[in-house]
């Protein structure tokens, strides 16, 4: 079987070729070309054809017909053509949505979760308690030019009054769609079923293309996002894509519905988490935004940190984190004034890449803070449902936990996947691994991998039509396994023993050692190798089996190896600059980061 997959990004269209060889699916060739959705070309398929042409040149198979379309094979024995073509798209800024609900923390948040999970960028969330006056809300709705609106509110059989009030704010405000002035703005209603008649009345003949799906919060105890997400995908294809230049042709070519890029990334992570029964965190750090994905206990969440990025948003990262926070990761002497100039330069010239070691160290320090802040935002959003009844016993008198607890638990985290320029294109794998460890502070045993050529979107769509192929390519070609981070939860005492480790394979000890508080150590464990790692933490430190209890786990090798981190969690750096710098330098040296 031969599959061609493309991802039409804002600037580049990336194509990959996946082939089944000896019963195993592998990604074999890759090509890319500039995206052609904007003028003067105004036809996305031109870019797709160019990217697939590069695949054709590299592979030697004829994939593009004379009329520019993708050739399909009549049988698997044919040399030329492919069996399947799939695509994702984030061209033209991706899918941009406005969502609304009755209470910001309840139905409005569920609506936001549905939109983000479907791969959209949420431009604004309107709610009855968003502390804005109705005229301010109307003004905001008028200013936005979303591709789609999702309205929720009220449980089934619950409130209708506030739902209708929100609908009555949106209807007269008449937000204009981004594409096509004569095009009716798609509006999905996923709220109280008893309000449907009123909603139909309000949005009839008002320039809206209304579609009604099941309530995404039928009760406050249950979130039912599936129908809303599916409808968002459908509407994205039927309305938004149909109005984007060349997408009508692209949809005809594709064997599976075209998906928004982040939605596809989310799908593949969910497939992997489900298939391997693990908890996953994925990050895609871009120039303007950082996308964060997580699957904990089977629950998928995605957040977009709109102002955290490495080029357009770098200035905001420095402002939000503070220059001191950024510089705490730097072990070299740097002039703060010069760094500020460097930040601004990066902002206005986003394609520049570091030319000196100093510039690289600084950029990677900024990326740590961008990732850290994005993760904090993600943890705050990925929570259990709010407004839910709690069950208590008398024993809970002094530990009454609130609803809305974060689902993200670093100790339960099994796999971290890094993607995005600063992580994927770091000169050394050790740099990517350390950036991820410093920013995310994983606890216990955590595998670290990177998606070096950002193949996850392609695989997300592929998972919808051929899950086996998606899984195999994901495991073998998509992810570059960097290794493992092994770190205890708890406060360590500098210089005092933190934990002991023993790495064995088939009864042979491969590595054994002890780490003291504040130390990091790298044990090389090559890709393809596997073994059993036993760790014995000191009293008060937890590796996943409980404080002070030993634990062992099967580990696989990676490009970096096993990183033992005895700095403690939460991670604390020394207060004085000299001590901090010495510590960072020691860690960098231990992990051979800038060798």
């Amino acid at each position: 079987m031969r599959i061609v997959a493309t991802d039409c990004g804002s600037t580049t269209t990336k194509a990959i070729l996946i082939e089944e060889r000896d019963g195993v699916f592998r990604q074999t060739f890759r090509g890319e070309a500039p995206t052609t959705v904007e003028d003067p070309f105004a036809d996305v398929t031109l870019g797709v054809t160019n990217a697939v042409t590069e695949l054709q040149e590299l592979s030697g198979y004829k994939l593009i017909a004379d009329d520019g379309t993708i050739i399909r094979r009549a049988s698997v024995n044919d040399v030329d053509g492919c069996d399947m073509y799939i695509s994702t798209s984030s061209a033209g800024g991706g899918l941009q949505m406005m969502v609304a609900g009755v209470v910001r923390e309840m139905t409005a948040e569920s609506a936001k979760r549905a939109a983000l999970g479907a791969g959209a960028i949420v431009m604004d969330t309107i709610a009855s308690n968003d502390r804005r006056k109705p005229h301010e809300q109307i003004q905001r709705i008028r200013e936005l030019r979303p591709d789609m609106v999702l309205v929720s509110g009220g449980t089934d059989g619950g409130d209708t009054k506030k739902v209708i009030e929100i609908a009555e704010l949106i209807a007269p405000a008449r937000p204009r769609p981004r594409f096509g002035s004569e095009f009716c703005l798609p509006l999905i209603f996923a709220g109280n079923k008893e309000a449907r008649t009123a909603i139909e009345r309000i949005f009839s003949g008002e320039g809206f293309a209304l579609s009604i799906v099941d309530n995404l919060r039928p009760t406050l105890e249950r979130e039912h996002l599936g129908p809303a997400r599916e409808r968002i995908h459908d509407v994205f294809l039927e309305h938004v894509m149909a109005h984007a230049p060349g997408y009508d042709k692209l949809m005809e070519w594709a064997n599976a519905p075209i998906m928004p890029t982040p939605g596809a990334v989310g799908d593949i992570l969910q497939t992997i988490a489900k298939g391997r029964a693990i908890n996953v965190v994925g990050v895609d750090i871009g120039g303007a935004t950082t996308d964060m994905f997580s699957v904990f206990g089977g629950i998928f969440n995605r957040t977009v940190s709109a102002n955290l990025g490495m080029s357009y948003s770098i200035s905001n990262v420095c402002a939000e984190a503070g220059m001191d926070s950024v510089l705490r990761w730097v072990h070299l002497d740097m002039d703060e004034r010069e760094l500020r100039n460097r930040v601004k330069n990066k902002m206005i010239r986003p394609t520049t890449i570091p030319q000196t070691l100093e510039a690289l160290v600084f950029e990677q320090a900024v990326s740590r803070e961008a990732l850290r802040l994005a993760y904090v935002q993600h943890k705050a959003f990925a929570t259990t449902l709010k407004g839910v009844q709690q069950q208590r016993t008398v024993g809970d008198a002094f530990k009454q936990e609130e609803a809305g607890k974060s689902l993200v638990d670093n100790m339960a985290l099994d796999l971290m996947v890094a993607s995005g320029g600063v992580l994927s294109h770091a000169p050394r794998m050790e740099q990517t691994a350390l950036m991820m460890i410093d920013a995310f502070e994983p606890e216990g045993f955590t595998e670290i991998a990177k998606d070096s050529i950002f193949m996850m979107p392609h695989l997300g769509v592929l998972a919808s039509v051929n899950p086996r192929a998606a899984m195999e390519v994901f495991e073998k070609d998509c992810l570059v396994i960097l290794g493992w981070c092994v770190a205890p939860r708890g406060e360590v005492r500098a210089g005092k023993p933190a934990f002991e480790y023993t790495l064995t394979r088939g009864g042979t000890t491969l590595a054994h050692g002890q780490l003291v508080g504040g130390e990091m150590r790298l044990v090389r464990f090559a890709l393809g190798e596997s073994g059993t790692l036993e760790v014995r933490p000191e009293k008060g430190l937890d590796m996943g089996a409980g404080a002070g209890k030993p634990i062992s786990r099967e580990v696989r090798g990676g490009s970096v190896g096993i990183v033992f981190d005895a700095r403690g969690r939460p991670l604390k750096l020394p207060h004085t600059q000299a001590e901090r710098r010495a510590c960072v330098e020691k860690w960098l040296k231990s992990l051979e980061v800038y060798v």
Binding site: G154, G158, K386
Partner: protein, 402 residues
């Protein structure tokens, strides 16, 4: 008391008479009566509430057969007339001071001291002048308490000033109060009312006052979310207070037109009549959220179980320790004792209230430290009497005035 004094006086008289009558018969060169004290002085005890005079005397060099001192007082002038003399104390011969207590702070007193021994009693030595037990402005023994009050007040003032200057006052997260917004939000989403019960006591109960304070915050949130809040009360004054509070909250939320006084109503003073009404109302109306904030007794479990059965989020708060287990088991969140009283500061976040809360915490911390130190010292003093711990415990007692 009078009888004891009379007996003492009789014994004194008998001893004097016996000494006079039997002296020629019983006297021997070695059996002479004890020598009286050389001088007696009396002075008002300073730093007290009045009523005490300290008497001291100078014993003679040769006390003879004296074994005790008999100290007596009289309210009648010492101008030749005597008595009636009332015994103040009979103390061991080694002692040279004693305190006469429970005296009038207006009357003058004279004192005399007699040495008493196996060979009879000496002649008494009188105090040279009368002494009055004056009341003092400060009571010395209350000084530790005064110091403690000053310390706590200083802490409160310090934290209030610090809070006013913008110093962040960290207060532990109280889940029950954090959950108020979600509870009100639930009622909004479900299109059902919120029920607030401020206990069954009147406004003279501090818990009712605390409950009404929480009502202010809940009703403001309800006004912002446009949710309906019902407040049944069992006291008419509580109803009035609740109405004013809720009205003020709706005004503060910018929605005065949404305030409905009819939803805050008086039911009955009768405990179970009130509970029957509230429970019935809960079953019929199925409020999405129930608040129980105030003083509750037997009705706590009835209300909380009814609320639980209708699927409402319930937040309770009371200082009645006997009712807390019921609320904890049946409600989603419970404010326990002090948390309930601190709710006002926690919810408002006003610097003065937060500073006051922190100041009180500092006072409690000091008291806790003293209790722990006292327990440790008392334990060691019991294990090894007379050691350092005993001395330290004595010193601590002295400092604390106990």
């Amino acid at each position: 008391m009078q009888i004891i004094l009379s007996v003492a006086a009789a014994r004194m008289c008998a001893a004097t008479a016996c000494a006079a009558l039997c002296a020629p018969l019983c006297a021997s060169p070695s059996a002479s009566p004890p020598t009286p004290p050389l001088s007696v002085t009396a002075a008002d005890v300073p730093w007290d509430a009045g009523g005490s005079i300290e008497i001291s005397w100078v014993p003679a060099a040769n006390l003879g057969s004296a074994t005790t001192w008999l100290v007596e007082r009289s309210e009648i002038g010492a101008d030749g007339t005597s008595g009636p003399w009332v015994t103040v104390a009979e103390v061991a011969i080694a002692t040279t001071t004693t305190t006469a207590a429970k005296l009038s702070h207006t009357a003058p007193y004279w004192f005399r001291v007699t040495a008493v021994g196996s060979d009879g009693s000496s002649s008494p030595t009188n105090s040279p002048a009368h002494t009055t037990a004056h009341r003092n402005f400060f009571i010395g023994e209350k000084l530790p308490l005064f110091s403690a009050i000053l310390t706590v007040c200083a802490c409160v003032i310090y934290f209030i000033l610090a809070a006013r200057k913008g110093r962040p006052m960290k207060v532990r997260r109280i889940a029950a109060l954090e959950a108020i917004d979600n509870a009100v939000g639930r009622a909004t989403e479900m299109g059902r009312p919120i029920l607030f019960v401020a206990g069954i006591q009147d406004m003279d109960n501090i818990q009712t006052v605390a409950g009404i304070t929480v009502l202010g915050h809940v009703s403001k949130t309800a006004a912002e979310y446009d949710a309906t809040i019902e407040v049944p009360t069992s006291r008419s004054l509580v109803m009035e207070a609740a109405r004013e509070t809720v009205q003020a909250s709706y005004l503060a939320a910018g929605r005065p037109e949404a305030y409905n006084a009819d939803l805050i109503r008086y039911i009955t003073d009768e405990q179970f009549g009130f509970v029957a009404y509230v429970s019935g109302r809960m079953v019929r109306e199925k409020p999405a959220t129930c608040f129980y904030m105030g003083c509750f007794y037997a009705e706590s479990l009835i209300l909380a179980e009814t609320g639980n059965s209708i699927g409402a989020i319930q937040i309770a708060g009371t200082a009645e320790s006997s009712q807390l287990p019921f609320f904890v088991a049946a409600c989603d969140y419970t404010l326990i004792g002090e948390e309930f009283m601190a709710a006002s500061a926690y919810l408002s976040g006003e610097p003065d209230q937060m500073g006051s809360l922190k100041g009180q915490d500092a006072g409690k911390a000091i008291a806790s430290v003293l209790i722990i130190v006292g327990v440790v010292l008392a334990t060691f003093a019991a294990l090894s009497p007379g050691g350092f711990a005993t001395a330290a415990l004595g010193a601590l007692r002295g400092i604390l005035g106990s």
